[in-house]
Structures are given as C-alpha cells and as structure tokens.
C-alpha cells in the first residue's frame, strides 16, 4: 500500500515534468514564430497626412475659414476621432483647438529631439495658408497630428 502511494507520486511527478517540458518547448516555438511573422506595417505617417488634409478641407472647404469654426464639435463632425489613439492640435491666430491625449505631443517633441523611444507615435506638423471668411485676410493654420496605434503598427 505504501509502495503504491510512492509509485503514484512518482508517476505524477514524471507526468508533470513531461507536461512542463512540452509547455516550455511549445512556448519557445510560439515565441519564435510570433516574433518572426508578426511584423507590422507602419501606415501612420500616411494616415496622419490624410487626416491633416481631410481636417483642413472640412474646416475650410474652399480655402476660406470662419474664425468661429475652431470647436471640438466641428472637428468631431469632420471625422470619427478615437481620443485615446489620436492627438490633434490646431492653432490659428489666437485660437487653439486641442483634442485627444496631450502626452502624445510630448512624445512627438521627444522624438524630434531624437530621444530613443521604443514605442513612439507618428507625428505630422503642417501649415496651411487660408483666407478668413469675414475679412478675406490671409491667415496661417498650424496643425499637429499625433497617432498612437502602436499595437497595430509597430
């Protein structure tokens, strides 16, 4: 009876060891395959450029912009914005419109200063010369777009 118990214990330990070995080997294979084949294609730069164009066309359809149009609601009507993944900052004269996560702008500055960051956002700074609706004076609209989407692009 005692011997049987010992035998059962030994059998259990052997089985556990085999199972552990199998898990380690499979885990290794999965890790190698995933790291080799899960390369991501980074399209965020193109995406940022498209967004920038789209926002300007939405805010100023014929190159003429209303001074009162710079509002969060207007921007949200232009395109669906996931505020966790994007940061948009638009400045025109004294008006400033900001939407999304501001820490992405900090990461953009760090990237510009060539700070080594593993998971960086895509950043696009652009300037547009537009006419004001009331006075038809020329004005510069500056826009910063930062896109996170790290999991799907890096």
């Amino acid at each position: 009876m005692r011997n049987n118990k010992k035998g059962q214990l030994g059998h259990g330990i052997t089985w556990l060891w085999k199972f552990l070995l199998l898990v380690i080997v499979l885990g290794g294979v999965v890790a190698v395959v995933v790291s080799h084949y899960s390369k991501q294609l980074d399209v965020r730069d193109a995406e940022a450029y498209i967004l920038s164009e789209k926002i300007v066309k939405c805010l100023a359809p014929n190159g003429i912009i209303s001074e009162t149009i710079l509002k969060n609601e207007t921007l949200k009507n232009c395109l669906p914005i996931d505020e966790n993944e994007l940061y948009i900052n638009i400045t025109m004269d004294q008006n400033n419109l900001e939407i999304g996560k501001p820490f992405l702008a900090t990461l953009c500055k760090a990237k510009e200063q060539k700070v080594a960051i593993k998971f960086y956002p895509a950043c696009l700074e652009s300037k547009y010369h537009l006419l004001k609706q009331t006075t038809l004076e020329s004005s510069t609209l500056e826009m910063l777009i930062a896109i996170r989407k790290i999991e799907k692009n890096l």
């Binding site: 199998l22 499979l26 395959v33 899960s38 399209v43 967004l51 669906p80 996931d82």
Partner: protein, 115 residues
C-alpha cells in the same frame, strides 16, 4: 489476468499520450503554416489599404475592390475587418469609418460607397 490488466492500462496510457502529443503537433503545424504563408500579412495590408482609401475619399465616392472569393471586408464600428474564410476572427484595424460609408459585396468584389 492481472498482468494483462496492467499491460492494457499501460497501452491505453501510451495511446493517450501519443494522441495528445500528435494532436498538439498537428495544431502547431497548422498554426505555423498559417503564419508562414503570408495570410496574416495579406489581411493586415488589405485592412490598412482599405482604411487609408476610406479616410482619403470624398463624399459620393464608390470604391470597388476585386479579391479572392474567401476574403471578406467588413466594418465594425469605426474599424475595418478583413477575414479569410467564415471561421476567421479577422484582422481589425481601427479606422475612420463613418455612418455615411456602406460596404457591400458582390461575388469577389467588395463595393465601398461613401455617401
């Protein structure tokens, strides 16, 4: 009889282990093959291309995409999903799909209408 029983038990144990290991190896081979044949990359590229096309399109645009019959392009909220086959979970890319975008399918052509 007793010896036979023991042998019978050992035989079943061996068979169980064999089936278990062979099953795992088969699953692994299928999974590695699906990763290595570029399907995942193809789906990713297609989803991202479709997303950029939709984001760039103006109103009253129709995009027609010809592809393999088993590929399905769908929208899920604001995201684009590309599936290969009926049982595939698909590749999801968070995009800018609005309510004015309608995706339909005709044979091996996906029609994306932006109204």
């Amino acid at each position: 009889m007793l010896k036979n029983k023991r042998g019978f038990k050992l035989g079943w144990e061996f068979l169980f282990n064999l089936v278990f290991v062979v099953m795992i190896i088969i699953i692994m081979v299928i999974w590695i093959a699906s990763q290595a044949n570029g399907t995942a990359m193809r789906k990713q590229i297609l989803a991202k291309e479709v997303c950029l096309l939709i984001a760039e399109s103006k109103a009253n645009t129709t995009i027609m995409l010809e592809h393999n019959k088993n590929i399905k392009i769908e929208s899920q909220g604001n995201a684009i999903v590309v599936k290969e086959g009926d049982f595939d979970k698909g590749y999801i890319y968070p995009c800018y799909v609005q309510n004015n975008t309608h995706i339909s399918r005709k044979d091996n052509i996906t029609i994306i209408e932006i109204k």
